[in-house]
Symmetry: D2
Subunit: 260 residues, 4 copies
């Protein structure tokens, strides 16, 4: 939270047209866009919140990117968990500084970014993914935002189970989460937090059935809708089109099954 | 994140009927509900995720409360910022472990709880409120959840300005946020994060006008809608009624105003 | 559309507090509410849009009720199809003056009111219901609003099929609409309009499966959400709570199945 | 509602890919699309609900278009009132067969189509529009769907007032509806139905202020949201994106202002 942009800082360049570019500052490198070129050397030492001008005289604001910006900027090859959902998930699953959390699958790593920042600096994210190409992409995304230190990426079919025990929270973003409830229960501490996201109503029903059978409690299902507005004061109104659906969120907690 | 409930821990007692009770364990005390009585001494030493039974033989699950539970459990005399909004606000305003954040007004302290947990242990929340009775309520709510150490409560009319300088983020939950933009800019670091919540569209327009005049950039307005579902697998459907509105969220960033 | 309220007219008495009462004018009768008594004889001959005052000096506006008012005023013992859905259904299913339409089940008759008004005066609604008590209730509701002439109420288990052939449109508001697609197809004209409402996602899946198998085309599923606002000009905002769900709407059209 | 498509009928050709084409059958004419050519002569005499095949062997279903199809198919140069709103408006404003209704402005005539069908055959729509080009477009749209007989199109600045008196309902779809409340009141029968649609919250506030001043009662404001679903039974889920906003709906009723 320094007041001057320094080498290795992530910088959000916000064009006057609202276009957003995130770059990590490196001496000698250049930022290019259709609005022109800016030398990193001209940004290093620049105070945050100031304006720079490209060689085409186009002005950009020099800002620290938020975690929201970093999530939205992650390169993706899959549907991601969006900030409209991820902030709520973190609160519901009580994920905070110091927590040990499992995520499966890693996907593009967008939600891994949110998890890593939430548990840093003492906590840890164990993120499982079957596909090697996705893991490589997630690693690039995490490296880019400087959060890889808080994450262990593991290539694994989670049907084989998780390595960790007594984790605080476990999040399933896989096709058939109801297939992995025994594995999840083994890895979670008693009374921990299970979360999942699935795109279809059928998957929700399947997961609810599994959660009932496996003795999870405090089961909740919801959707989050984010409705953006245009920001003209004299003509306040929602935008024309919005995201109608990314997924259904499911939360539950594993409790002790007492033998009779 | 101990595995055994200990004296001074906050405990969520979750009844089989879904009723939720949050208590702090104290040797010699008792929990009472219409479902019967439980001695705290019988809870201390109990593993998390186990069942206890009241003297009326009614079963409760013994669980750690989540930050979501704590926010919803805060005693309130005002409209609060709900978890559906607060998780998203934290991501948008980049509020994380170590941040220095101003909030005004404190109100019942529900969002203060979310802020305090997000910035702990190294960060700090400076929360301003004009009304003495609200401050006292917020203090009780923060003490109850063990987060008061991360918060400075200040009784003040914010028209007089804030004491802090260069804070990372500043959140306005007051009747006329557009009246306090100069004060907010003075307290925020250049390029910091301003957020606000207001219940009416007229207030949004007023605030947008002020943000334009004061040279804030990256202005966004949105609403969050949370739609809960009933959790019967064979009859999946949204609940009958939902919250239609708590408030409009507005975000912006102060940038340097360069004299010509 | 006379300008004077006459005997036998339906009248909406709208209190200054927003309370709504619908009565049919009869010489010699009285309207009673906690706001006082009004003689029907004082209403008969009164111009529409004028004020009357109860014997307690409480003012009411004398208005023609809309079809929306009549639907919402119907006595109900079941979930009904609300105006937010019924207006859309009429457009999607092309139901208009002169149409012959089947409805099953009748339920409380709220949607039957909308259908009857839409097809009047030349069209006809054939409404099937298994339960005698519901049929009696629907008959009272239809009689009250003066639309029974356009409706034939039939007590029947629709598994036995419908009496009519070549109807323009057929609407299913029954527990398992996918069980009655053959019966629906038999009654509908080729290329007619099928509609259904079901409360759960599982029922939607079942119905979609049935529609695929039975060769219906132009299949659509949607939800309608109505978000009301408070009407204070200087404090414009949505109401606090809204209906989150009444049902999913499904539309499809039967086409000729050509033997190979 | 004949069972055979005849010359001059409007036909919906529904491709197997879901593409929709609406044509009026004329002997000797041809329908062209990228899926191939169909002779109108081959459609005339064809039963509804049957399949035809283009010269490229691509199959189309031959269906009667619904009023919903006709509204969505209208050529437009303006934002239109969509069926998700127009069905509800008709119920709220009690617009039915036989009504006399004023609309301003006509725009592309999409809502005029809904109004015309609702009041036919005995009722009448008086539709005002200032711009000649829009009137010409609306006339083409109404002619195309065969509903022009029920509509009088008038080129006029409605600040000058409406020609009609004692109409049942009056709908304002103009930029500043609050400027025309005196004109609306003059044209409406006492206790009639006023409706309006506006895109921005500021306009809603202005209109609410005007309605209060002019003594309208039973004032309501709402939004309608239509959320479409994908229709795969085993993967039921909302579509990815939806319309977030077309406009706010406002309803009110003019009542007699009694001189003291």
């Amino acid at each position: 939270m320094a007041e001057i942009a320094s080498e290795n800082d992530l910088v959000l360049l916000l064009g006057k047209d609202g276009k957003r570019f995130i770059v990590r500052l490196k001496r000698g490198e250049e930022f290019h866009s259709h609005r022109g070129r800016i030398l990193h050397d001209d940004l290093i030492g620049q105070p945050w919140g100031w304006e720079v001008v490209s060689h085409l005289r186009y002005p950009f604001w020099v800002l620290e990117p938020s975690i929201h910006d970093l999530i939205m900027d992650a390169r993706r090859r899959t549907q991601i968990v969006y900030p409209k959902e991820s902030g709520y998930i973190l609160l519901k699953m009580n994920i905070r500084s110091g927590c040990r959390v499992i995520e499966a699958g890693t996907g593009s790593g967008a939600f891994t970014i949110a998890l890593a920042q939430a548990v840093a600096p003492e906590g840890r994210v164990y993120s499982y993914e079957e596909r090697e190409d996705m893991l490589a992409l997630a690693e690039r995304n995490l490296t880019r935002v400087g959060l890889l230190d808080y994450v262990e990426l593991k290539q694994r079919d989670i049907a084989e189970g998780f390595d960790e025990r007594d984790v605080d929270a476990l999040f399933l973003d896989v096709r058939s989460p109801h297939h992995y409830l025994l594995q999840a229960r083994e890895a979670l501490k008693s009374g921990g937090f299970l979360g999942a996201v699935v795109p279809t109503a059928n998957q929700v029903s399947n997961l609810l059935r599994g959660l009932e059978e496996e003795g999870f409690v405090d089961v909740e299902v919801c959707e989050m809708l984010l409705r953006p507005y245009k920001t003209v004061p004299a003509r306040l109104r929602p935008v024309d089109r919005m995201v109608a659906h990314t997924g259904y969120l499911i939360f539950a907690r594993p409790v002790a099954v007492v033998e009779p």
